[in-house]
Subunit: 156 residues, 5 copies
Amino acid sequence: MKKVGIVDTTFARVDIGRYATERLKECGTGFTITRRTVPGIKDLPVAVRKLFQEGMDLCLVLGMPGKAEYDKVCAHEASTGLILAGVLESKPVVECFVFEGEADDGKELEFLARRRAEEHAENAYALLFRPNDLARRAGTGLRQGFRDAGAVRATH
Amino acid sequence: MKKVGIVDTTFARVDIGRYATERLKECGTGFTITRRTVPGIKDLPVAVRKLFQEGMDLCLVLGMPGKAEYDKVCAHEASTGLILAGVLESKPVVECFVFEGEADDGKELEFLARRRAEEHAENAYALLFRPNDLARRAGTGLRQGFRDAGAVRATH
Amino acid sequence: MKKVGIVDTTFARVDIGRYATERLKECGTGFTITRRTVPGIKDLPVAVRKLFQEGMDLCLVLGMPGKAEYDKVCAHEASTGLILAGVLESKPVVECFVFEGEADDGKELEFLARRRAEEHAENAYALLFRPNDLARRAGTGLRQGFRDAGAVRATH
Amino acid sequence: MKKVGIVDTTFARVDIGRYATERLKECGTGFTITRRTVPGIKDLPVAVRKLFQEGMDLCLVLGMPGKAEYDKVCAHEASTGLILAGVLESKPVVECFVFEGEADDGKELEFLARRRAEEHAENAYALLFRPNDLARRAGTGLRQGFRDAGAVRATH
Amino acid sequence: MKKVGIVDTTFARVDIGRYATERLKECGTGFTITRRTVPGIKDLPVAVRKLFQEGMDLCLVLGMPGKAEYDKVCAHEASTGLILAGVLESKPVVECFVFEGEADDGKELEFLARRRAEEHAENAYALLFRPNDLARRAGTGLRQGFRDAGAVRATH
């Protein structure tokens, strides 16, 4: 039985932790989920390391940085810390960040955030249980949340 | 009995360490507080790691970077170091930074700084004693200091 | 027998992992290849550290960041993490990144990506088996993907 | 008997290491000083870690980055490394950087550099011997080199 | 007998590794040199850590980043990694980077690169064998490659 940690924030404006959890459960079985919520994205790296030390095999983290320039700096700091936590533990951290400025209005933001959370949940499942699914799609221009970019062909 | 470290700076222009301490005590019992003051925000990461090695379960750090471009760089360096210290110790570091440029005058700055310090103190309490309070508010757009952004609804 | 890890992404729009693998095999013998595919470039550092812990002597990682400003930030975070993983393990990580904005159209992008992947594969081979080939070409202005810049002469 | 390391650079244009050393000695007794000089600010983090491993309780480092954009990048890299060294050793690193662009002419630069070095030396002394002095001045807007910003009052 | 590692790149357009090696030998005796060449500057941190683990007392690394904005990012990543490697090993890493944009033409670039490489080699020698030479020149505004800036006097 694999163990998956899911961490989200009270700062996020969409309940992306729930969407990710629901989609992950739909992907298959063979794993348990431990959920945590922290205030903001800068709290994610410590939460992830703690979860790994409690035995998680993978962590899926979800955050929604705001629109300001400073929010981008915070996201950068959080990402750097998440990579640090992952590298120190040698365990995958699937990061799902949705920036408020990526969508024009609330409806679009909710749609984007949900879809991205679900697609990252699918990636988390593939990393743990279906690595060959990822290998088959290597270099095919997959995107999470937005439409896939697709592969570029030499014959274009 | 949990142990909380609170670290602030002589650089800050508001006594946010005191506001945070007072609010934390109002939140409940079951913890002791150890306070430290360092010169500036770049001194916070080392102070935090020392406090963790003295047995703290969580550190709440408070700083007020100035208005200049260089102050933003210092804040970025301090944040990166705080995440490093937290990840190395696997213990939460609640960071409360108030940038001088966030408010138009001294009165507003004092108000913002106090409120943010108090709300981060509440988050620190929740992380230690009421994780379910955080989980219940996942994805609801909470903010510290300013008005909450609130949740974005798909039906907007 | 040396062991080489090759990691690419599903985000990339060209199958650069395959080009690198094919070229590496053409370079010579004396090594086995383990391939992995992860969703995006930020997942590379953890994948690399895991591969080193499975016994790899060198990892060749390939990614294609998008055109947006945020993609550059992600590439920076990934590179920082790759250097961290390499330094912690004291093993070389050959990074081959192709930015979508480096080429004007799909055809050119495919050509550039393939050539860069192949030339980095040659570098990976040289690092493991022909260090003197690198030493002989020290300071000669070699480039991967684009035309070599060449050496600058004092007598120009 | 406490041990203090002081490190400066040959790149700096003012003998700030000497000013800091003299002021530190004036602050009191109960400590020995070990001085080192390295070429530039990027050499400071390693020098600091070595000094800690030789038994220092605190390191005071002094540097003067130039005016160019690249000098700011170097200062950022040095600061990040200094925080890393401090966090790994759990010992305070008091960083005193004076940017050449902070003053209009040589005389002003010399004055600023000297004063900042002296005030950081006082902070170093306080961190080791008078932590209560720092605590008493928490949130009072102290600055090193320039005039103190002072506390912001709610009643302004 | 001290051990010095010298690492350069095939990306560089001037044979700065050779210039540094020759000058280092002219500085004196009492050390052996181990040379390595890697493809680019991002490969330097791992090479340095490996050399330290093979017993080097100091590493001198030389690179020539290109003119593009991305080259600056790579240089920043490489520098951060070099500081990390040095701090983890507590051994000095003398970094000599020459940016292609620092000179107007090839002749000037060659001249600058050679001179900077030689002066950094002298610094490496001083760090190992003549620390007092550095101490004597503290705060005197030394530069590598370009003319020394010199000390700023209070009486200017």
